[in-house]
Symmetry: C2
Subunit: 177 residues, 2 copies
DNA sequence: TGGATATTTCTTTATTTACTGAAATTACAG
DNA sequence: CTGTAATTTCAGTAAATAAAGAAATATCCA
C-alpha cells in the first residue's frame, strides 16, 4: 500500500516525534497510519506499508494495545487480526495521559510513599522531609484532578476549560487594576 | 559529599525515572540533588556526589539550564558557578510543562500547519483532511488552555482545579438521575 | 490429523544515546 | 602577560534501545 504524500509526511513525522513522546518510531508510525486509515489493517498490511520487519510490527502493536490506543477487530470470513485506533482526538488524549500516568507518575508516587514511611526519615532535616512531603502532595493533587477531568465528556471538559480560561482572565485583570 | 539514605534513594529514583520523563539519568539525578540540597552546589561537588564525569555534569547542567529548571548563582569571593533549582513544585511543574510543550508539541503543530497549507492536500479524501484539521485544532485548544493555566498563581490554579472537580461531580450526578 | 496460514518469541545485529577522559578554551589573579 | 583554576568541547567508548530474521508456537480448516 503506497501512501499519499500528505499521509506519508504525517506518518513519518509522527514516527520522529514518537521518541520524544516515549515510544519508538515504529510504534508511533503504526499509530499514525491507523489514525489516518479508513479501515482496520492487518499486521501484514502495516508491515508492507511501513517497510519494517513483521516481528517489529507484532511487538509494536502489542505495545499500542497495552496503551489501549489500538484495538483488535475481526472481519467476517477473515481469520487474521485487524487493528484499528480511535479517530477521536480526545479519546486518544485521555488514553495517552492515562498511560503516561501509569508509567511516569505511579512508580514515583510509590517511592515517595515508601520514603515517607521509612524509619530513615527521622534522620533527615525538617526541610528535606517537607520537600518530599510537598512533592508527594503535589502528585496526589494533580493525579486526582486529572482523573476527574479525564472522566468528563469532551463537551463538558470544553466547558470546564473555558471556565478556567475565563477565571484566569478575570484574575489577571484584577491584578492589574 | 555522601548522601543520607533517603536523599540517595530519592536521587537514584529520580534518575531512573528521568528516561521516562524525556531526560537522561544524570540530568534527572542532578536535578533531584539540587532539589533536596540546602544550598547551591558547584559542578565539582555534583560530580563528586554522583560519581560521574565532570563533562557529563557540565552537559547535563546545560540541559537543565535550557529547561530553565536550574539557575546559576554566585557566591562572594568564589569564582566558580554555583547551581540551584527552585524548591517550589508548582514552579517546577510549570517549567517542565513549558519545556515539554516546546519539544513535544511545537514541531508537530508546525508540520500540521504545513500539511494543511500544502497543495497536496486537495488530493486527500475529505476524511483525511478532517482528521488532520481536528488534530491541529485539538493541539491549538490544549496549548492555549495550558498557557492560560500556567500563567496563574498556584493558589488561583488550585481554585480553578477545585472548581473543575466540582463541576465534574455535578455533571456526573446529573447524568445518573 | 496434517498442513497451511498467522502470529509470537527469541537471538542477533544495527542504531541511537549516554558517558568518559583528554584536549582545548575561557576567565581570572597575580 | 603568565600561569592556574574553571569550564566546555569533542572524539572515542560503553550502554541501552530498536529492529531484523529465524525459529517456535498457535490457529484454523480440509
Amino acid at each position: 500500500m503506497a501512501l499519499s504524500p500528505v499521509t506519508q509526511r504525517f506518518v513519518l513525522h509522527w514516527g520522529e516525534m514518537g521518541t520524544r513522546w516515549g515510544v519508538n518510531r515504529t510504534v508511533a508510525q503504526i499509530h499514525a497510519l491507523l489514525y489516518l486509515s479508513k479501515r482496520a489493517l492487518t499486521a501484514e498490511e502495516i508491515t508492507d506499508t511501513l517497510g519494517v520487519a513483521r516481528s517489529n510490527v507484532s511487538n509494536s502493536l502489542k505495545e499500542l494495545l497495552s496503551w489501549r490506543l489500538v484495538k483488535v477487530v475481526h472481519i467476517l470470513g477473515d481469520r487474521r487480526d485487524h487493528f484499528e485506533t480511535s479517530k477521536d482526538v480526545w479519546e486518544l488524549f485521555k488514553l495517552i495521559v492515562e498511560g503516561r500516568k501509569q508509567r511516569e507518575i505511579e512508580p514515583t508516587r510509590e517511592v515517595l510513599k515508601d520514603l515517607l514511611d521509612s524509619p530513615d526519615l527521622k534522620q533527615e532535616s525538617a526541610e528535606t522531609r517537607k520537600r518530599i512531603e510537598e512533592t508527594q502532595q503535589f502528585i496526589s493533587i494533580m493525579t486526582h484532578w486529572s482523573d476527574e477531568m479525564l472522566r468528563l465528556e469532551p463537551e463538558t471538559l470544553m466547558k470546564v476549560m473555558k471556565l478556567g480560561a475565563r477565571i484566569s482572565n478575570l484574575v489577571r485583570r484584577e491584578g492589574k487594576s
